[in-house]
């Protein structure tokens, strides 16, 4: 989604100009565009009357923010303790291999998938677990992970 003036204005309208709303406003931006476009960060900081450096500090400190656009499907693999002791690491590596992502997290070149790690999705009874977009998939094996990617690729 492009950063339209309208979309931003809708977010900013919610917040009185005070520094305490910086994180909340940026969370709304992240939810809206699925990353923090630079223009949007500047607009938020201007509106709230905080220096841009503070915006950078916050965006780079908290995991919830991303400065890069995200892929069409969000793949969040749980590496919480319960999933770890039930083989979550191998499942995670399988996702990484199949998606061809070099670093620990990242987005595929065709912008189809973004892979990230999360800690405990609250479904340890189904460990190892991954969340694809809104849906949770449990009792994963490497084979099941491969099947899931094939399924989502078609969507």
């Amino acid at each position: 989604m492009s950063v339209t003036f309208k979309a931003l204005e809708n977010i900013l309208d919610h917040y009185p100009p005070s520094s305490e709303h910086l994180i909340s406003a940026l969370q709304d931006v992240q939810a809206k565009f699925s990353y923090i476009p630079l223009e949007a960060m500047t607009a938020v900081c201007d509106h709230l009357g905080v220096p841009l450096s503070r915006g950078w500090a916050v965006v780079t400190f908290y995991k919830a923010f991303s400065l890069e656009p995200k892929g069409e499907h969000d793949v969040a693999v749980c590496l919480g303790t319960a999933c770890h002791v039930r083989g979550g690491r191998n499942v995670y590596d399988k996702f990484r291999r199949d998606l061809g992502i070099a670093g620990p997290e990242g987005t595929t070149r065709d912008l189809k998938f973004s892979l990230r790690q999360v800690r405990c999705l609250g479904c340890c009874s189904m460990a190892p677990v991954a969340q694809m977009d809104e849906e949770i998939h449990g009792n994963l094996s490497q084979r099941k992970a491969g099947q899931l990617l094939r399924m989502y690729r078609k969507r």
């Binding site: 916050v58 770890h84 340890c124 084979r143």
Partner: protein, 636 residues
């Protein structure tokens, strides 16, 4: 409905009870996060559709997590004059036949998990028997909740309403005695008496440290400066735990009521709940609860006509573990990066916006109304000498009955793992528990008679923590576990102080050496002394407790470290550099499953002939091991 007086509260209770136990059949679907993950939404939608299509005099409602997460999705049937029946592992298809039986006036018999004869209702005049006379037929034979090993040792106090009420329905909460404790505190007790009760009850913080709650409140009450803030820590950073999330998703008003009582005791009129943004359902549930309480007049001005005023804001965390630490959390609410500060000035005096502030954990707050309603002595009777009441654990990992359990303090590790948890699956061997998350430690089987309370755990080198309890068996490598927690902590260290930022990295390097079969026994000593240095030198408790997982594994599993260093072996067959996959020629029947799955093409062989694995091509991903149904792929 406005609730501005005790009469209103009584009326709300009556109305709520009529909804909880209506004079017609009711179906309850467990719809907390793990229920939803297991497919509860589809079950719920189907039942709703059925009810709307057919003229049937009954209701379908949702409820929270009762703890039996491994049996999800769960559905309950409540029929007037009958025990409540819980059905397990529901699918839309089974739910359909269940509904048809019910609509035809029969009680479904398939997939019964247990029946509940008595609803404890600890805050509303005590136990309520759900039927009169004797049971007959299959109902008489169905196990009762208290017959199930999983339930036998449990006692639900903080979880008193979870799985019993619709979390979005304020009347349901009131029906089970909710907000009556608030009324008692506001009208029959002085703030000092409230603090006294909480102190005498022996309540200690459930967020990890176990600090006496009453003492904390008293110092904030005494502090100069206004306004004062009460805060709820719902950041739940332990990477293997979900107790707080479930409490919020199952019973948000218990936390609101706790905060209200605390605010009255401390002299505060404003509060914040800091909750993880990654918990969307918990966030929504809290938003709805706050709105409902505000509309009813239970938040705002002149609450219950007593002149006491209080309101609450919700603040969404940005996903940083360190923000669970009190000073970092306050910085985060102020819109800053969540870096801790040194605590020579206490947050009770100068916390949020430099004003006196009192922070407690979700579960701590949920216990408060019970103490006020039942009295300090009632509460003191539960638990051990130094640790009163109950504790919720998320009992997870290599254990059969995975779920949330609330047990009296002092239960032994053995009882929790073997009785409540049903032991480890597939005839493997129980090895250790990890308790307390990244600040906690591993406790081995030889100490499984240890009672779980704040002080015993600390002596053993772990901590109670917020309630993550991970069971490990002989397929878990302790060097790998230490690495796992260090990775997490290095990732989450805010980087402000050097021991934590650099010390942890060096510790991690040493562990890497061990897990690749390098390193020497002298390095073990370096790891130990470095751990002590990080412990002493770090600014906040993240760094201060970060070495615990390393130190406890060293203390109890030194032989395993030595096996890595001296024999270049990983006894649990986890550390990739030290293991090899092979195919046992006798057991392999040539089904080709492994060859199809191998990403490296390292496995060759023709159909129905034993396969061979080329070790030099193998990247040790374990895919072949996973798919082989004949145990022909071995790893050592």
């Amino acid at each position: 409905m406005q609730i501005t007086s005790i009469d209103d509260l009584q009326r709300a209770k009556g109305a709520g009870l009529a909804q909880l136990y209506p004079d017609k059949p009711k179906i309850l679907v467990g719809m907390a996060t793990c229920g939803l993950a297991a497919g509860a939404q589809r079950v719920y939608d189907l039942l709703q559709k059925k009810v709307q299509q057919a003229p049937w005099d009954g209701v379908v409602e949702k409820t929270g997590c009762i703890g039996f997460c491994y049996k999800e999705p769960l559905v309950d049937i409540i029929i007037p004059g009958k025990p409540r029946i819980t059905y397990q592992e529901m699918t839309p298809e089974v739910a359909e036949s269940l509904w048809e039986e019910l609509a035809a006036g029969r009680i479904p018999e398939a997939r019964v998990m247990a029946r509940l004869d008595v609803d404890d209702m600890i805050l509303n005049g005590g136990p309520r028997r759900l039927f009169k006379g004797k049971l007959t037929g299959f109902l008489a034979k169905a196990p009762r909740y208290e017959d199930l090993d999983f339930f036998k040792l449990q006692r639900h106090i903080a979880m008193r309403n979870c799985g019993f009420i619709d979390p979005d329905n304020l009347l349901h909460y009131v029906a089970r005695g909710g907000y009556f404790a608030l009324y008692t505190a506001l009208t029959a007790m002085t703030p000092e008496e409230v603090i006294e009760a909480v102190t005498t009850a022996g309540l200690r913080g459930r967020g990890g440290g176990g600090f006496p709650t009453g003492v904390k409140w008293a110092s904030c009450r005494k502090a100069q400066g206004r306004p004062k803030y009460v805060l709820c820590n719902a950041d739940e950073g332990d990477p293997g735990a979900y107790m707080d999330r479930s409490l919020i998703e199952g019973d948000p008003h218990s936390i609101l009521e706790g905060l209200l009582i605390g605010a009255y005791a401390i002299g505060s009129s404003e509060g914040y709940i800091y909750v993880r943004a990654e918990y969307p359902l918990a966030v929504k549930t809290l938003q709805r609860a706050i709105l409902a309480a505000r509309e009813a007049g239970l938040l705002g001005q002149n609450i219950l006509g007593t002149g006491f005023s209080f309101d609450l804001k919700l603040n969404l965390g940005g996903g940083a573990f360190v923000c669970g630490e009190s000073t970092a959390l306050m910085a985060s609410i102020e819109g800053k990066p969540g870096e801790p500060r040194a605590k020579y000035v206490h947050t009770a005096d100068k916390g949020l916006w430099n004003r006196p502030s009192n922070l407690n954990n979700v579960e701590t707050w949920a216990n408060v109304p019970v103490i006020i309603a039942k009295g300090a002595d009632w509460y003191r009777d539960i638990g051990t000498e130094g640790s009163k009441g109950t504790k919720i654990f998320s009992l997870v990992g290599q254990v059969k009955n995975v779920g949330l359990v609330e047990v009296p303090m002092g239960v032994t590790i053995k009882d929790l793992v073997m009785r409540v948890g049903g032991g480890v699956p597939e005839n493997r061997e129980f090895k250790a528990i990890q308790i307390g998350g990244p600040s906690g430690g591993c406790i081995p089987k030889q100490h499984w008679d240890l009672p779980i309370d704040f002080d015993s755990l600390r002596e053993a080198g772990a901590i109670m923590g917020s309630g993550g309890l991970i069971v490990m068996d002989n397929s878990t490598c302790m060097v790998d576990v230490a690495k796992f927690f260090l990775d997490f902590l290095i990732d989450e260290s805010c980087g402000k102080c050097i021991p934590c930022r650099l010390g942890l990295k060096r510790m991690r390097e040493l562990l890497e050496e061990f897990s690749t079969g390098k390193g020497s026994l002298a390095d073990l000593d370096e790891l130990e002394s470095l751990s002590e240095a990080v412990k002493d030198g770090s600014l906040c408790a993240l760094g201060g407790s970060a070495p615990n997982p390393v130190l406890t594994t060293l203390r109890y599993f030194r032989d395993e470290y030595e096996a890595h260093i001296l024999d270049h072996k990983c006894p649990a067959a986890v550390c990739k550099e030290l293991i090899t996959y092979t195919i046992n020629q006798e057991l392999c029947n040539g089904c080709t499953a492994c060859a199809q799955e191998c990403p490296q093409g390292a496995i060759t062989g023709s159909k129905k002939k034993p396969h061979t694995l080329n070790t030099s091509q193998c990247i040790k991903c374990g895919a072949c091991f996973e798919v082989c149904k004949f145990e022909a792929v071995t790893v050592a």
